[in-house]
Symmetry: C2
Subunit: 198 residues, 2 copies
DNA sequence: TTCATTTTATGACTTTAATCATAAAACAGC
DNA sequence: GCTGTTTTATGATTAAAGTCATAAAATGAA
């Protein structure tokens, strides 16, 4: 996260996106640095027959879509508002100037990219070799650490739909539903009127 | 890549690893920055029943294992020499000092992490939603751009074993062998005495 | 040059998640 | 409050990759 005041000093502008509105599209060249003020944004791909894979979900104070910005490459995925969201947009050149003039920010960017690479490494290993129960549990446990799940009397409330869990783990909804039930039976999580807790 | 002279100025030492020797292990805390002088290194995970997933393969002048270094987290995978290899090791604190005193290097690190994140994004989407032919082809095409495949009269020589392709895509050897044959039949690649070309 | 190991290969079969069909409950918009 | 959509749910069936067995070719080490 970069302080909003600093971003604004370099010319960042606030933009609002409605729920399900596209922020940028796969295949386009990056033009801005994006940082969320409020709401949530997902980055995802659609394969040939319309099946979705969610690369990640981002919340307030988080940035997204930087890698292609540094590489002059096309976006490998779409960014879509999951809820009504407000986002700060800083044009690429201003962003690079900001980095140059504020070396401490570079370390923040590095740490952020390192964190995301870490998540992708863990999930890639899970998704390639582990069975559904393992995959779902790993996603949930990662989510507790890095997504904004709230803890209450029942434990952490995993506020993802079964479909979202499927799209994040590469499983189908039905499989996720069955897997979650199996995990509950094993006592690894709780289902309280359809909500999942851990 | 950071210039070897600069690394040595900050106290980096050269270390040799035999083929199949472990450089560092999953679960350990990072102590050094690693940059390859010669040979090749893979980062990989083994799941509960011994199945391997290769996170990536790295060659001369490339660094590996940085993310946990920036996050003070444990390594999410093992680093193993694929061939006899020489690696420059720079202790963590010296590396951070180097970064601090050479701001231009930070941008290099950022670009490198961005590149790896880009690869992982593309492969994650493939691995979760696409059929084997698509997955193998994507890996090969990515490899042409970023691994050191050599081009000759037959095209790019994909010098991965079927097993390695399987470990990189989450498929079993037999499936890779059959998939490659199917891709050859479709004219998407060539097999010339067991070697794969594209 | 020989021998052990790795890599590629192929067929038969099995398992597991995907698919398909259907429906109830919950939620959101009007 | 009604209605359309989304989410959760369950059972039956299918397809596709995994598994198992076996072997030839290639490679590398002694």
């Amino acid at each position: 996260m970069i302080a909003p005041e600093l971003l604004e000093k370099y010319g960042a502008l606030k933009k609002s996106f409605d729920k399900n509105e596209i922020i940028f599209e796969e295949g386009n060249l990056p033009t801005h640095y994006y940082q969320i003020i409020s709401g949530q944004v997902k980055m995802s791909n659609y394969n040939d027959d319309g099946r979705e894979f969610i690369q990640g979900i981002f919340y307030k104070e988080q940035s997204f879509g930087e890698p292609p910005l540094f590489l002059n490459q096309k976006y490998p995925a779409n960014a879509i508002a999951v809820d009504d969201s407000e986002v700060l947009l800083l044009p690429k050149n201003n962003f690079l100037k900001l980095l140059e003039e504020n070396p401490a920010i570079s370390l923040k960017i590095i740490e952020n990219l390192a964190q995301r690479l870490y998540y992708k490494s863990v999930m890639a290993a899970e998704m390639s070799t582990q069975e559904p129960e393992h995959r779902v549990l790993k996603l949930i446990d990662h989510g507790i650490a890095y997504f904004n799940f709230k803890k209450d009397a029942n434990g952490y409330h995993i506020n993802f739909t079964r479909q979202q869990i499927g799209d994040l783990t590469g499983l189908r909804v039905e499989t996720v539903i069955r897997t979650i039930k199996a995990l509950e039976k094993k006592g690894l999580l709780k289902i309280i009127n359809r909500k999942v807790y851990r």
